[in-house]
């Protein structure tokens, strides 16, 4: 058995699972104190379906803690930003275009140093070890505890980042270091930004994982702990402590993966209706389709792969004005739905009240909405369905029929038939799809490199990249026979003679259960 937990802004959902079968699911309000919220969720699971803590093989948690820490610029480490590559790139120094508040929270310790490589692996300039020792001296004087090191074209050649880290650690043994080639892809500023965010989150990662481990300990669970990352795979505690930034956007990913598994559909359009918004994404081959635009995190541009999600301001708490042309949202009562919605004794007409009045769901006191005009209620339901269906249709990738899967607590707003979709699936446990997504996540490895030179054969390049991605998946804890390549992306580099090509390969596999922490 294993447990999946989703710590959201409003609710903490938890599920007890036997492989992909849900044994018990609970929903609790999220608490300010991390540990007690998790303990509460685990206690509720055990109350609903008693289990021996020793029988739990793994616990997977999806959390927005790290995203929130950056958005709120809270608890971040004083972080040195070291770039290797002079004289190149000096015109765009690190932290360019960062929000001032975040820049100040990190201390604005920027160092431009020699080093870096060309696209084909030649050095831009040699690494200057004395220069780095001087940086270390400066960091010691300023009491800086984290460092982000980014070398130009380190996805092609990482040796300078590794050597620089070695030098800094020799001078400053307690320094926490993040290296850009382990974090991001080609694209200096975006990779550097992600590396800096990662380095600044290292102490937060330590605290949060300790809090999670403490909660498991108190519940008597001695199973490995995993956290969800943005690509729908899991990472272990050691990995989170090194790469906390990889947790970003795990929420929508988990809900889509959960929907796919609950419905048994590896290709579908997932509609997740929450309290304020409806998010729509596409699942292709069991994984969310990634967005291709650059992603802003707290105002900082990164090149993470995030799921392609479109949203509309319709949710269970959306305010409603009835009439010939009803107005639904985007204003929402949000988490105050249990006080403000009419069926719960409040005075605000919400989308949930309409669902109750229309007979879609039994909640609260239906007599409180019995007076509403039937025709107007039906018209309102129709408009909600049409708007969500139009959004969902825009996410389709072909005219081929594709099923729609409805998840999230607010999905009771929607009918069983949606215009343009011939199959609408409302799986069991739809309200806790993201906790289930966390529970069933796989582990993976990704490679993103530029290969150049006339002598390289395409097949050899892909084979080499695939082997490296598989190896990374195995290191992440995948069972060897389950690892498969889920994505190969080749991008020829434009405006160049020769055949330089950028290759991205992703491998995933099932997690080994029964390991020890």
């Amino acid at each position: 058995m294993h447990i999946g937990i989703d710590v959201g802004g409003t609710n903490t959902d938890a599920v007890l699972m036997d492989h992909t079968h849900v044994l018990e699911a609970v929903k609790n309000p999220t608490t300010h104190d991390v540990t007690s919220g998790i303990i509460g969720a685990l206690d509720d699971l055990a109350a609903g379906r008693p289990f021996d803590p020793q029988d739990i093989d793994a616990v997977a948690i999806g959390t927005t803690h790290f995203t929130n820490a950056v958005v709120q610029a809270r608890g971040l480490a004083s972080t040195a930003v070291i770039r290797l590559g002079l004289p190149a790139a000096a015109g765009v120094p690190p932290l360019t275009a960062w929000p001032r508040r975040l820049r100040l929270a990190l201390g604005d310790h920027v160092y431009l140093c020699s080093g870096g490589h060309e696209f084909d692996g030649r050095e831009i300039s040699p690494l200057n070890e004395d220069e780095l020792r001087r940086v270390a001296g400066d960091l010691a004087a300023k009491g800086v505890s984290s460092a982000a090191i980014t070398s130009i074209f380190s996805p092609v050649n990482a040796e300078m980042e590794l050597r620089a880290a070695e030098i800094l650690r020799a001078e400053l043994p307690g320094l926490r270091v993040s290296l850009s080639h382990e974090i991001g892809r080609v694209g200096l500023l975006e990779r550097e930004n992600a590396t800096v965010i990662n380095a600044s989150l290292l102490p937060v990662a330590e605290q949060i994982t300790n809090a999670f481990l403490k909660a498991l300990d108190k519940a008597g669970i001695d199973a490995p702990l995993y956290l969800s990352q943005n690509d729908g795979t899991l990472m272990d505690v050691d990995y989170v402590r090194r790469y906390p930034v990889a947790t970003f956007a795990a929420g929508p990913t988990n809900s889509m993966r959960g929907a796919a598994v609950l419905s048994g559909l590896s290709d579908c359009i997932v509609v997740d209706v929450g309290g304020t918004t409806t998010d729509v994404g596409a699942v292709v081959g069991g994984f969310p389709r990634p967005a291709t635009t650059e992603v802003d995190i707290g105002g900082v541009r990164t090149n993470f792969r995030m799921p392609d999600v479109v949203s509309v301001g319709i949710g269970g708490g959306s305010r409603v004005t009835l009439g010939d042309t009803p107005v639904i949202g985007p204003e929402s009562v949000g988490f105050r739905i249990h006080q403000e919605a009419m069926v719960f004794g409040g005075s605000t007409l919400t989308a949930t009240d309409i669902a109750v009045a229309g007979g879609r769901v039994r909640l609260g006191d239906p007599s409180r909405v019995a007076h509403l005009n039937r025709t107007e209620v039906r018209r309102c339901q129709q408009v909600v369905a049409e708007r969500v269906a139009a959004l969902a249709d825009s996410m389709r990738t072909s005219a081929e029929p594709v099923p729609m899967v409805l998840v999230g607590g607010g999905s009771v707003l929607l009918p069983d038939e949606m215009p343009g979709f011939d199959a609408v699936v409302r799986p069991e446990h739809f309200a806790v799809a993201n906790a289930i997504g966390a529970a069933i996540a796989q582990v993976g490895g990704e490679v993103d490199k530029v290969y150049s030179g006339q002598d390289l054969d395409r097949e050899d390049i892909l084979a080499e990249a695939s082997a490296e991605a598989r190896q990374k998946a195995l290191l992440a804890g995948a069972t060897p026979d389950s690892v498969r390549i889920v994505e190969i992306d080749e991008l020829p580099m434009a405006y160049l003679p020769g055949n330089a090509v950028r290759v991205r390969v992703k491998a995933v596999g099932d997690l080994i259960f029964g390991g020890s922490r």
């Binding site: 190149a88 696209f119 003679p497």
Partner: protein, 359 residues
Amino acid sequence: MNMIESRDVRDIARGAAILGAGGGGDPHVGRLLAENMIDRYGPVTTVALEDVPDDAFVVPVAIMGAPTVIVEKPPSGDELARALYAVEAVAGRKVTHVACLEAGGLNSMTPIIAAATSGLPLIDGDGMGRAFPELQMVLATLDGIAATPMAMVDEKGNTVALETIDNPWAERLARSATVDMGCSASIALYPMTGPQARRALVPDTLSQALWIGATITRCRDEHRDVARTLAAELGGSVLFTGKVADVVRQTSGGFARGSARLDGIGADSGSRMVLSFQNEHLVADRDGEVVASVPDLICVLDADTGEPVTTEAMRYGFRVVVLALPCHPRWRTAEGLALVGPAYFGYDHPYVPVVPSER
């Protein structure tokens, strides 16, 4: 426009990405660099093309190389000014005005950087009115203006000065040197006199980019259709709205060639458009009929946001609007089409000029 300040750069970059017709490289890193240089050295003075004096010595600048490399290895900032000084040294004449070679994409930003760092005024105009993949594809070539003396500079401090027998040779030799410089070189070329510049540059393209960028922002705020607004104002036409159903790419001769198939949505349901590209979009074919082609600009915009979508970023499932904008009239002449028409890029159909949509 008589000045470019830091706050103008974002809109110019956004508009330039539209003028890039899918190519020209993402202006983002150039934008940051241009903003930094204006913050450091002050705003850039701009000069209308018609106001360039006869005794001017005008030198356009650009960055040549792979956009993928430029986003990983941005310039140090002073390369473009050094390229200008290298041309001065060879020509034996002081540069009086900086010009833009290519208003589409990243190279809309490079002359701003050059002007800010050198303190020289910048001409509001450019060499082609869009983005093109090769150095000789400028109006100056039609006027017999030589690309050389030309200078190429890298961030390491190397300078290459070129004197060539014709412009295709300049393209060829420069491209080889660019690879050795690490696939990115700052270049200054096509030195011109005032009268030559007034004839061989497309006027007002930087202010046009600024207007397009501001219009995208304004349309989004006002929930107006970006593509239709641009088409109406710029004499273009909205060709198609669809979802990317397939993208095929191959590299040959250093260019990312390929095609994208779009399946129509909304009013275009049931129709299909195929876009052929070589860094830039070159031909738009609707249900087997060519509806737009190079040298007109075929621009692809995100259907929801109106943001430009580059050929590199085109992916299966994208929802896009295809917009055609007219090229400079000189590209529509027989000699213009011989240099940059469909035949030059290997297509056997005749050039189909874009028909402005009714306002």
